[in-house]
Amino acid sequence: MSADVATPARTAAVPLVVGEDIVVRFRKRTVVDVARIEIARGCTYGLLGASGAGKSTLLRALGLLERPTSGRVLIDGVEATRRDLTIRRGIAAVFQKPYLLRGTVADNVAYGLRLRGVSGTERAARVSEALERVGLAGWQRQSALTLSGGEAQRVALARALVLKPRLLLLDEPLSYMDPLLKRGLTAEFASILASENVTAIYVTHDQDEAAVVADRIGVMREGRIVAEGDPDEVLGLPEDEWVAAFVGMEPPLRGGVRATSDGLATIDVTGVTFYATTTLPIGTGVLLAVRPEDVTIYEAGVELPLGSARNRLDAVVAEMRPGGGTVQVVLDHRGTRIAAAVSRASAKELDLKVGARVVAVFKATAVRVRASA
């Protein structure tokens, strides 16, 4: 997402942050147990998981805010702890609550600079620049305690950005916001993070937020990272059944590549044929999945429109899970299950109900495929 200005060599060399064998215990309970985690330079790493999964605890360990029970954190390849003030001063954070201090907006944004002994004139210039970046240009003299929640969180972001941190920690920075505000701020934060070219760890329990913000996603469950990869991979083809449920999908299907031609593969899943765009060779065992948003449903027996949608599957509606604007329809074809997201209007028009016979249609490009282990 962000264009890294570092040379490829340096980028390839060492990730900015590496956590090794990070274990955190509270009162004998293991809260975090992660063998290895790497945060690449210029990348926003999304730590996704339910509350209590250990996301924030891992974040605090990686950000040198709290010492883990055991394990080590390498910043730039060098082991670092809470005591290394110089290294720590390259790290800044935004938490759930903005925790603004009494005083003006400028006082708050300048706080970290003052801790570092930055001179008054430089402070003023950098504060003004940071406020501009978060869309609060000219707000310097406003009292911090009169701000709305969204404004306060922007000030908190400015307070972190003004330090030009090498690593930015974001711990559910938007979870207290209303949906409307949150939607706007998520996009805004994502664009700021991308343009700042900062390395960031972004903790959230909201997969939509993670999808928008992160370049890479790690899913945590009970202290462990149970899935990791590109957002498309993790959210589009989760291997783990629990992760699949967490991101709102059916578990992935297992099959084998039967034929290939021109990048289009024919994949056999227990007798059912799927078409997918992949260069995996014939005979490869694969996992595959289709995002519900990519599946369209038609009445059984209807004359299907022409088009590039290669996959057509006769199926029976096994389950209907109403969501907001869409209904998640689980389809079953002799035991092979995929889900489709159907708008409420379509569901009504098609008179969808459990047991109804339908045709599911989706493109070959929508089928995500990965060689199985």
């Binding site: 809470r82 954070a93 938490f95 706080y111 970290g112």
Partner: protein
């Protein structure tokens, strides 16, 4: 009710007459208790900060000790100080018994645990996340400590003021170690006891009114500190 009215009128007359006797006792009270609370603050705040902020093995034992010292009956403190300063006691050679200094010692011993205990609570009450936020903005240990102390200043101030109100009103310890010697160790509380016993209600009422005034101010300040509670939400 006439007994009260007469005493209050007498009390006011004595206070307003500028009688040397009455005001010198008030001065001594304020001087001893004021010095005592200052010393207790200097001793108690660092201890309280240390207990509230850091986590170490014997911490709970130390907190229990401070709490126990807070709950010590003043007469017992008076007894211990008296024994220490008495001729046969370990500090008997200093000859401090029945001097203002002896009262000062007793009051410091009474107030310091209170200041330390309330500071502990105030400092521990600063949200952990706020401390994390300070740390994450690059605060060194000293900068973090200073900011935490600033955030909990209301609690510390409350401890100091409550401690002052407590020791200036206290009579058991000061009367034991001071001995209520006129012109030397007679403070307001011991003077009240002395004059009540002799039926001199006007004199007693004069000091009682000053004490009540101090209690009212202390109470008002404490209420004010509570109501203007720190807001961390924003």
């Amino acid at each position: 009710m006439s007994v009260y009215i007469t005493a209050i009128i007498d009390g006011f007359r004595l206070l307003l007459s500028g009688s040397q006797d009455v005001w010198s006792i008030i001065e001594l009270s304020l001087g001893v208790s004021g010095s005592a609370i200052l010393i207790a603050t200097v001793i108690g705040v660092p201890i309280g900060y240390f207990l509230g902020m850091t986590r170490f093995g014997g911490r709970w034992a130390l907190i229990l000790l401070v709490n126990t010292a807070m709950g010590f009956p003043p007469v017992v403190v008076g007894l211990f100080v008296f024994m220490a300063l008495s001729r046969s006691g370990p500090l008997g050679e200093l000859g401090l018994l029945f001097t203002p200094q002896s009262m000062l010692i007793a009051q410091v011993i009474l107030a310091a645990p209170l200041v330390a205990g309330v500071t502990t609570a105030a400092v521990a009450g600063v949200p952990r996340d706020l401390r994390l936020q300070l740390r994450a903005l690059g605060a060194s240990r000293v900068q973090e400590a200073w900011a935490v102390l600033k955030e909990s200043r209301r609690g510390v101030l409350a401890a100091v003021i409550a401690g002052f109100g407590g020791i200036i009103s206290e009579v058991g310890a000061v009367s034991i170690v001071g001995g209520n010697i006129e012109g030397s160790t007679r403070v307001m509380t011991t003077a009240i006891m002395f004059h009540v016993r002799r039926g001199e209600f006007g004199l007693a009422m004069a000091w009682a009114m000053v004490l009540i005034g101090i209690a009212l101010v202390v109470n008002a300040v404490l209420t004010g500190l509570q109501n203007a509670g720190v807001r961390h939400e924003r």
